[in-house]
Every structure is written in structure tokens, then in C-alpha cells.
């Protein structure tokens, strides 16, 4: 296994393996080849045995969406009578509940609504901001949609949303950052370049964001790597990504429901591979929402140093038939059971200390 020795040497010396080496590592490496290397990277970045998590709630302001992505079980088409938009009273109630549970942020995302104007989103942000909670909201496809609806530039839309109270942005809608995949799976969604550009501009305006990848559908291994390298390249320029969250496609109730679900073994390899490739992103999150508590805990040995969010509410993965639930105390005990110290954090990974 000469190539593996060479890759290991590089990782140990904080050098970057070549693309060919990275592809070979995923293809031919076993769980240990990937796990040990990911753990080395993780320990370099996080020498203290701490695993962080955030208390938040996913609030989906609407499920009405004109994007109609084939991997999505959440959206309702504009003509579907079941689609809805959240009321401000409902928003307030959800945020109050979140704050009562010690929550520090909300993750605000929704479908690409055909009729709502930019002012609607600004009003929503101003309304939420009165509660003082951190707003982690609007993934790049939403921003691109607002650009179309408003006629403003990406920079102008981001500026206006920030003025209205937007604090940071989630990395959703990245799916696979390859235009071949996007054309086949999500033709109405922003392109890979547009996704990267929104993130670049957000970072330039001083906003922190995360990045995600949804894998395990129609993409090739090369396209997964292309995705990771695009994130790594942008991070090299801006440093604005706080975390990377890879999660496997959940096929139930989607147009791609005949694609079999990614197994846990492949998930762990992908997680570890992400940790190795994204050497300039500080944090890698485990996806307990898709993997359940057992595999999420095991993920902590395959590169993940963050348990994500308590997700007081989650609707998108649940629509694809997957409903794991974890309380803060369960997360803490899973983390402790794996030999790490649990630590509540905010979006920017500052620790939350409670008196």
C-alpha cells in the first residue's frame, strides 16, 4: 500500500494529497485507513477532547417552492393547496419556545416562494430580531431567488438582509457542486458557480457560513471530490466557512425514491474523507438527523468534532421518512459515552457558558 503510506505522510505533515491520491484513498481505503487519518486531522485541529453542539430550531418559513428538486420530499408546488407560509405569531411562538430551552439561534430556511418580495424577508428578519436570537438563515439558492425577484445584485440582497438582522448563513442547497448533477437533479436551483459566489460575497461582507453536501444519489466520486475542492478553494480565499456538514440523500418520498439509501459504512468513509480533504475548515458535523444517535456517536472517531444541533424542530429530513429525535441531555450523554466533553456553542463556535 505505497500510495497509502504516501498519503499518510502528507496528512501527518499537513501537506495536501493529490486528487488522484484522494480518490484512491476513498476507493481502496478501508474504514481504518480513512478513520485513522481523519482522526489525526481532527486531533490536530482540536487537541482538546471537546465535542460541541448548538441548541437551535429549524424554522421553515414556507414549504412552497418553485425549484422542484428531485431529491426533496419537503416542498409543495405553488399550485398545491397544502403549501403554506408561516405567520409572524407562529414564528414568535417557536422562537419563544427555543429561547426557553436555552436556544441561541434559529435556522431559518424555506422554499423558493414565487410571489414573496424581498421586503417580506426583511420584515421577517426585523420581526425575529426583536427577540434577540441569532438568525442563521437563507441558503444560497434562496439568496439567488431573492436576487431574481428583487432585481438587486447578490451583494445588495445580502447587504439588505444583514441590515434587517441576518447574522449568518447555512450551507444548504449545495447538494453536489457539479453542474452535471445539478442539471439532472435540481435544474431550477442555482448553479455551482452561483452557490460559491453567494458564499464568497457573504464572507466578504463579514458573515460566517457553513457548507453542506448531500451525497449518495446520482453523483460520481469525482464529483464529490470536485464539491469538496470547491469548498476548500473558497475557504482558502475567504476563511468564512465555520463547518462542513456532509449528509446522505434520504430517498423516501422523493422523485429519486428508487435509489437505495447510503449505508452507515459509506457515510463514515465520506465523513472521514471530508475531514481529510477539508483541512482548512475548522469543524465537521455529524448528522444524527439522518444517521441516528448510534452512528452519530461513532462519527466522533471518523473526523466529526461537532454534534450539530439539538433541532428542537426539523421538517425537511422528516418529510423523507426519517425521524430521529435527540434532547440536549441525550446529546451530552452520547458525547460523554464516547469519551469526549460536551460543550454548547453558538454559530461561530464560541462556547456558551451558563451561570
Amino acid at each position: 500500500m505505497n500510495y497509502f503510506d504516501s498519503i499518510r505522510e502528507k496528512v501527518l505533515n499537513s501537506e495536501r494529497p493529490t486528487e488522484q491520491e484522494l480518490l484512491a484513498l476513498f476507493r481502496d481505503g478501508n474504514l481504518y485507513d480513512l478513520g485513522f487519518l481523519a482522526d489525526i486531522v481532527r486531533r490536530k485541529k482540536h487537541p482538546e477532547p471537546v465535542v460541541t453542539y448548538v441548541i437551535d430550531r429549524n424554522i421553515n418559513y414556507t414549504d412552497i417552492c418553485i425549484s422542484a428538486c428531485k431529491f426533496c420530499a419537503f416542498y409543495k408546488g405553488p399550485e398545491d393547496a397544502e403549501g403554506s407560509v408561516i405567520s409572524f405569531e407562529e414564528l414568535k411562538k417557536k422562537i419563544d419556545e427555543t429561547q426557553e430551552l436555552g436556544g441561541t439561534q434559529i435556522l431559518l430556511q424555506g422554499g423558493l416562494h414565487p410571489d414573496k418580495q424581498l421586503e417580506f424577508y426583511e420584515d421577517m428578519l426585523r420581526f425575529i430580531k426583536k427577540t434577540g436570537i441569532h438568525i442563521h438563515g437563507f441558503s444560497p439558492p434562496e439568496i439567488c431567488h431573492f436576487v431574481k425577484v428583487s432585481g438587486f445584485s447578490v451583494a445588495e440582497v445580502l447587504e439588505r438582509l444583514r441590515q434587517a438582522g441576518l447574522d449568518s448563513m447555512p450551507g444548504g442547497g449545495a447538494e453536489i457542486l457539479s453542474d452535471r448533477v445539478r442539471r439532472m437533479a435540481a435544474p431550477n436551483k442555482c448553479s455551482a458557480d452561483e452557490w460559491i459566489d453567494v458564499m464568497r460575497q457573504a464572507h466578504l461582507q463579514g458573515m460566517k457560513t457553513t457548507a453542506t453536501m448531500m451525497f449518495g444519489h446520482i453523483e460520481t466520486l469525482e464529483e464529490r471530490l470536485e464539491h469538496l475542492l470547491r469548498i476548500r478553494d473558497l475557504q482558502e480565499k475567504t476563511g468564512g466557512f465555520t463547518a462542513f456538514i456532509p449528509w446522505p440523500f434520504q430517498p423516501a418520498n422523493t422523485a429519486f425514491s428508487d435509489i437505495p439509501k447510503t449505508t452507515a459504512h459509506v457515510y463514515l468513509k465520506m465523513l472521514a474523507w471530508s475531514r481529510i480533504v477539508l483541512d482548512n475548515v475548522a469543524n465537521i458535523q455529524a448528522s444524527w438527523v439522518t444517521q441516528g444517535p448510534k452512528v452519530a456517536q461513532i462519527s466522533l472517531f471518523f473526523g466529526a468534532n461537532d454534534f450539530g444541533s439539538t433541532m428542537i424542530e426539523e421538517n425537511v429530513v422528516a418529510a423523507a421518512g426519517v425521524t430521529f429525535r435527540l434532547s440536549e441531555s441525550e446529546i451530552r450523554s452520547l458525547v460523554k459515552g464516547a469519551g469526549f466533553m460536551p460543550q454548547q456553542r453558538t454559530m461561530d463556535y464560541s462556547f456558551v457558558t451558563t451561570g
Partner: protein
């Protein structure tokens, strides 16, 4: 990667594992106590690949639980019910025949049948159910009646372990499942299942079976109130018994499921607990050919990962699993052959469909 194992403080155990040298009691404790999950798994994987290569076994099987009426009523069990309980049930011999008939069109090679310690089913019931299964499916292998049930039959019949086993064998019994072992420690049995057959009694039944050419499996119910020492002691007792007879096929760690039991205030086992248990068992039980990551107990995901942590078997199609599901298992009740093949292949292993005695039926 050896230096990573040495960094984890397990260099001496690595050497023993590489040389095929037996681990000591203290080694077993150290493995359980080590926080380095990957290192423990790596050690177990060495043993696993030495014994079973890349093979991962599964079986096309059917489970039948003939009755949940039980006089033992162990505190960790959600299945056993008092005779007067509304939830109590028992299958007649003809009911069992019906269960077998329902699935005659499927390529089932094993019927796995266990039940409670029933206070008044006659001795003849047990030989009769074996006979009707064989009448319906002459070629099927019947793996039935845990050592605890065998001891109960010895008591009601007065025939002794060997006498009962001979009768059952003549009626069609092929092998004995590993249930009822729980944790052998008398402290644990006193606290959780005082009416149950003792640990030494369990081993005595198993060894008697081995001498009559009946293979058996072995289990351990972990993740409740047992200490690490009690776990290693359990493994050590199994290892000694296996040295004597060589009749055990597989060790199957069983994760405790608290829901609906008298120990319901305890937590479920975590993924790390499950993998460590598989891995330590693989390292310690050097004379057991197989370690099973039973998906019904730990879920399909952890079972699959277990294939890199020492396990070489995932059990099988199962269907209608009752015992663990009454204790709140959220796993599916059945897996298709296609699901099993995919699970095994995606773990980078070679799927082998086996019969009960690990003869190869089909290699994929």
C-alpha cells in the same frame, strides 16, 4: 498503522493479537476501558480477517416464538409474561405448523424457535413442535430451545440434560441457540433473574449438547447493570468451555433494551458500547469461529459497521422478531436478501449465504 495502536497504549495487545497469543483477563478489561475505539476495532479486525477473511455470513431464517408465558420473569425482559397476563400467548402444535406453512414458498434454511419457561406445557409439546416443523419442511435446520429451556425440560421430564437433548435431537432438533446466558455472574443473576438457570448450569447444558454433536451458540446480554469485570468473566467462562468441547459456533452480544422492562430507567446502549462489545469479544474469544453483529439488536447501521469491528455475521432475514421489539427495539422486523447483500457489499465484504452450521449455500 501499528504505531497508532502503540500510541493508544495497546502495543502489547497488538503483539499478542498478531502472534495469535491468548489475551488475559486484564487485557480484556484494558480493551473495554480504552477510549480509542478505532484502535480496538483495528485489533479485532486482525482476528476477524485471520479467521474469516473477507467473508460475511447471513442466513435465510424464520423466527418462531411459541409462547411468551414464563415463570422466570427476568427484570431485563419485556417478552416474558405471567400466565394470567392479558398479553400472554401460546401457540398450539398446529399453530406452529401453520407458521411454518405460511412461508413454505420462501427459501428458508433455518427455523429459530425459543419461548418462555412455560409452567404447564407438557414435555411432549416440545418434541411434537419439532416433529411438525420437520413434517412441513423436512430439509430445514431447527435451531431451538435455549439452555434455559433445556434445563426446564430436564426438570419436568426427569430425564437429565443428555436425555432431553437426545429426545429433542431424535425429534428433529439441529442445534441450540445461545440465549439465556445473560451475564453468568451470580451477582447479576441474583439481581436480575434469580429464578433462571445459573451460569454454570447454562454452560453444563451447552457442553452436554456439544458432546452429543449438537452445536450451540453463546450470547451475553450487556449494557444493563453488569461491570466490565463481569463481562470479561463471562467471556472467559465461554472461552474455557469452548476449549473443552469446541462446540460453540458463534458468539452474539445482545444489547440490553430497557423499554417495558423492570430496568426501564436505564439507557439504551450507545453505538460505541455496541462496537466495543463486538470488538473485545472478537479479540478475547480466540477459539470462537464467528462473532455476530445481530442487526435486530443494534440496528442495521451499527451491524454493518460491526463488520469492520470484528463481526463476520449479521444473522439473517429474521421476520417477526418479537422478543427485542417488545423491549422497544426500533429496528425493522425483517430484512430481504437484497438488503442484506447490499449492506454487506457496501461494507467492502463478501456476502456468503450460510446454513446454520456455516456451510456455504451461496457465495455472492
Amino acid at each position: 498503522m501499528d504505531y497508532l495502536i502503540k500510541n493508544a497504549g495497546l502495543g502489547d495487545i497488538l503483539e499478542k493479537v498478531q502472534d495469535g497469543e491468548r489475551l488475559s483477563f486484564a487485557d480484556g478489561i484494558r480493551l473495554f476501558e480504552s477510549p480509542d475505539l478505532l484502535a480496538i476495532g483495528y485489533l479485532a479486525n486482525i482476528v476477524r480477517e485471520r479467521k474469516n477473511g473477507n467473508n460475511t455470513y447471513f442466513i435465510y431464517n424464520q423466527h418462531i416464538n411459541y409462547s411468551n408465558i414464563c415463570t422466570n420473569l427476568c427484570k431485563f425482559c419485556a417478552f416474558g409474561k405471567d400466565r394470567d397476563s392479558d398479553l400472554a400467548y401460546e401457540m398450539s402444535v398446529e399453530d406452529v405448523r401453520g407458521k411454518v406453512r405460511e412461508r413454505l414458498s420462501e427459501p428458508i434454511t433455518e427455523i429459530h424457535m425459543v419461548g418462555g419457561i412455560h409452567p404447564d406445557l407438557p414435555y411432549s409439546y416440545y418434541t411434537d413442535v419439532l416433529k411438525v416443523i420437520k413434517e412441513e419442511r423436512p430439509a430445514v435446520h431447527i435451531q431451538a430451545f435455549t439452555c434455559v429451556e433445556i434445563a426446564h425440560l430436564a426438570e419436568i421430564s426427569g430425564l437429565g440434560y443428555a436425555g432431553v437433548l437426545e429426545d429433542l435431537k431424535n425429534a428433529g432438533l439441529g442445534s441450540i441457540p445461545g440465549g439465556g446466558a445473560e451475564v453468568f455472574s451470580s451477582r447479576i443473576r441474583g439481581l436480575t433473574c434469580e429464578k433462571k438457570l445459573s451460569g454454570s448450569g447454562w454452560l453444563e447444558v451447552a457442553k452436554t449438547a456439544h458432546k452429543l454433536d449438537l452445536h450451540t451458540n453463546a450470547t451475553m446480554l450487556y449494557g444493563h447493570i453488569e461491570s466490565l469485570e463481569e463481562r470479561v468473566e463471562h467471556l472467559d467462562m465461554l472461552r474455557r468451555a469452548q476449549d473443552e468441547t469446541g462446540g460453540f459456533l458463534a458468539f452474539i452480544p445482545l444489547a440490553f433494551h430497557p423499554k417495558n422492562t423492570e430496568l426501564s430507567s436505564l439507557s439504551r446502549t450507545s453505538g460505541v458500547d455496541d462496537l466495543k462489545m463486538i470488538a473485545v469479544a472478537r479479540c478475547f474469544l480466540d477459539n470462537f469461529p464467528h462473532i455476530k453483529a445481530y442487526w435486530v439488536m443494534i440496528g442495521q447501521k451499527v451491524s454493518q459497521i460491526g463488520l469492520s469491528f470484528g463481526a463476520d455475521d449479521v444473522d439473517g432475514t429474521v421476520k417477526e422478531e418479537i422478543i427485542t421489539h417488545m423491549a422497544g427495539a426500533e429496528t425493522e422486523q425483517a430484512m430481504s436478501r437484497e438488503q442484506l447483500l447490499r449492506l454487506i457489499r457496501e461494507a467492502g465484504r463478501t456476502p456468503i449465504e450460510r446454513d446454520t452450521l456455516y456451510n456455504v449455500i451461496n457465495s455472492y
